[in-house]
Amino acid sequence: MTWWRRLLHRDRMEEQLDRELRYHLDQYAADLIARGETPTEARRRAQIEFGGAEQIKEDCRDARGTRWAEDFALDLRYSLRALRQNPGFAAVAVFTLALGVGATTVMATLVHSVLLKPLPYAQPDRLVAVHGFETTWNVALFGDENISNPDFRDLQRQARSLDLTGWVFDNGTLSEPGDAEYVTEFDAAANMFSVFGVSPAFGRAFLPEEDRPGGAPVAILGYSFWQRRFAGNPSVLGTSVVLDTRRYTIVGIAPAQFEPRGVEAEVYTPLGQNTQPYLLKRGPHPVTAVARLAPGATLSQARSELAILGRRLAAQYPDTDKDRSFIADRLAPDVSDVRSTLWLLFGAVTLVLLITCADLASLLLARAVSREPEFAMRVALGAGRGRLVRQCLTESAVLAVAGGLLGVALAAIGIKPFVAAWPGALPRADEVSLDWRVLGFAISMSLASGLFFGLAPALRAPSSRLEQAIRAGGRTITGASRRLHGAFVACEMALAVVLLVSAGMLGDTLLRLSTVRPGLDLHNVVTARTALSPAILSDPAKTRVTWDDLLDRARHLPGVEAAAMVDTVPMRNGDNPLGYWTAPPAPPENQMPLALATSVSPDYLQVMRIPLVRGRFFDAHDTLNSEPVIAIDEVMAEHAFGKQDPVGKQIWSQLGPKPVRIAGVVGHVRYYGLANDDKTQVRDQAQVRDQLYYPFSQLPDGFVRRWSELMSIAVRTRINPLAIVEPLRGQFRAVSRDQVLYEVRTMEQLASATIEPQRFLLLLFSVFAALALFLATIGNYGVLAYLTRQRVPEIGVRIALGATAGSVTRLILRQSLTTVGIGLAFGTAAALAAARILANTVDGMAPVEPLTVALMIAVLTAAALVASLIPARRAARTDPMQALRR
């Protein structure tokens, strides 16, 4: 019989055991009778020689090998009964743990799904990102360098250790079927899906013969776009779309959630068919390349091969490729911007979990101490020490598992709303799901914390001092136990200080950010990206006229004060840093000072209400035929010219080979958002603080098309700015039916979005801090109430000897506040360390305000006082006679 069957048929086993032993006794007695004993004497002797039947049965049960499971079932039943007797304790313990585990599970899921999980492609560890490398390329500012299209094709053809694919990020206007829409487009090599190891959801991938100049015009739709625009209807295969005036036949639908390098394209077209000049030259490098290592090839082999191919290209095309080489790295998700935030939140949540555990531990300990007499009684009745420890652990394990399961349930409910509430786009958001690894982590974590924190009380199970324990009747409490309780309370307090001070600092930061002056008037301005008709864009002169016409139409809409065009809108994604120099020759590219260049129309200053400090801004006289001019901001003026007046000076920039004249100086704008403009707080791209403006009207014809594709319109209104969006859209359509406005945002929305991460963190930290405050207060109250109750006889004696109610209250309060004080001291030190982490992680973080720390400590002290006052008052009202009789 297998052991689980023995376990299952426990009753039958018992009955058989009983019959077997009885047979032995009966048979022995019968033999004795046969030898002449009297029946009574025979039975007596048989029983004596046989020994204690119950003891033998116990030994037989042990031999069965199912003993631990039976004991466990017994412990489990007993634990449940014990917890039911004390539902308040059980509820607080389970719920507390559930909150801690739930929050930790959510963050662990995010950390796992976003940062740790391998990419969702076949054999993701064989995928590598291939990029260009030039010493003059500013990686810190622009990220990894891409590859020029001819270089990409050469590498693709020649590499043996790599199966290379690539795509160019592009945009276009999809004008048929239905309303015109501006779409994200990948010009993709034919082998894109196969290299990633995915296959189209419907239809097919591009064929190699389509990936060439003059190939059949075919397109693949992105999965989300197909769902949204074509309601996921597979019959669109074989029909056609018009993209930038060209008609493409739809041959496939990309797989769902296919987001190479974090972007899901809406339409794919074959890269080889695109013959725009920038794709034929080796200078520009627009191709993002990814490769799969050939079977058997290693990353280092691929690297050496790329190095050889790079040297060959450099020798062949010295003009463009002389200083260029190619590198390969393992393909990793692009999550750099949320990495630190996720870890920060994970840390905060871990603090909450620790508080939860300390809370649970102090509750369990208090309970165990109060059950000492019960345990002593059980020892007296024959329970082994190991057995008692196991019983205690079973009880805390039951609590832990219940809390863990509830916590996981909370996490399962909470994770989707949490991801949805994440400010901006969380990378890999649709890969976020609770999976068995995280669930296993959560359950084992709660079980481990239950067992670990149940261990302290379990080991208190009495052994040697059995007699004293029974006699004391739980009346005394040793110093060691009191210190252990104090340690738990102090820990909770310290952790709570960290969370409260962090939340307070974030609050300070937001307050400060909401009062910073952004350098422009955010109120009543709306901006929108635009897509002019592809037919108009093909002719620079027509494009210039159309822009003037559109701005004029916008200006004359009712409620509009001013309208302007601008390529990069402040506080929105996207910027255009350009190197500049004030005297020839040009310094090396990676040593040039950089300025954010913005191409605008003359009314831009009025629309944004950016102050003109000196000189003039642009006007209708700045044309292709007049001297090129720019305007710079105060920061750049001081940076480039110091105390000199920059107006009228010449300046060189990467805009063109000739110098331009500085016409005026304008105010500085917090381009990267409210939080990211402090000199001490600059990180990543925000290091570019110099700003310059140049007129769109002086742009050479060759640039007009590309710039127009990037242009946005900005309108200042006297009324609610969103009210003019539809009339404005109408004007765009009136000029040409395939012209689109998209990404409509008011400046207030954009500004607010820039501090959304801080607001989100503040919200979370406030919740954590409130939770910590609540848990610490409960823990403090529970421990103190319990300790005070244990001291009732002692307090009775004190009162009988003449202690007043006031002195008893003070006694209890002093005991509590000493513990709290120690916790606060450690907590403050830890909070200062946490503040440094916050300052390094969160943009625009305010420095630690002593006032905030003081305020938070005051809040905690007050909470601790309230928590201690109730037990203290109760102690003071002790009736000495009753106390002594107890």
């Binding site: 077997e20 047979y23 032995h24 020994g51 003891q55 033998i56 031999a63 069965r64 090998g65």
Partner: protein, 114 residues
């Protein structure tokens, strides 16, 4: 009655297996037979017989059925399994080797003393 010696550790299992090897037998009969065969020299505490039987059954060395005895009562009869027979053989062999070795040592120590 001469004082009986206790069974050396681990030999009870071996003896039980040996008795069961002779054919299906119930617990009481095993006790009786052990007593008879060892001519009352070895004390088999009846209390430890049953846990040992159950242990051997769980280890799969013995199997048991409920059968009628001559007296018409139902009793639990144990018999040796194939695994049990193998265990008995190897245990017997190692016991004999051990006994021989111990005997050798004992004789040698007397010779050395002379």
């Amino acid at each position: 009655m001469p004082p009986k010696s206790d069974l050396p550790q681990g030999t009870l299992d071996l003896l039980i297996l040996k008795v069961a090897a002779l054919g299906p037998v119930h617990g009481y009969a095993i006790a009786q037979r052990l007593q008879q065969v060892s001519k009352d020299v070895v004390q088999v505490p009846q209390g430890s017989l049953y846990p040992a039987l159950h242990r051997l059954e769980n280890r799969g060395l013995l199997a048991a059925d409920w059968k009628q005895t001559e007296s018409g009562r139902e009793a639990k009869f144990y018999h040796l399994t194939r695994k049990g027979r193998a265990a008995l053989e190897s245990e017997t062999e190692s016991w004999e080797r051990l006994a021989e070795a111990v005997g050798l040592i004992l004789r040698m120590s007397e010779a050395g003393a002379e």
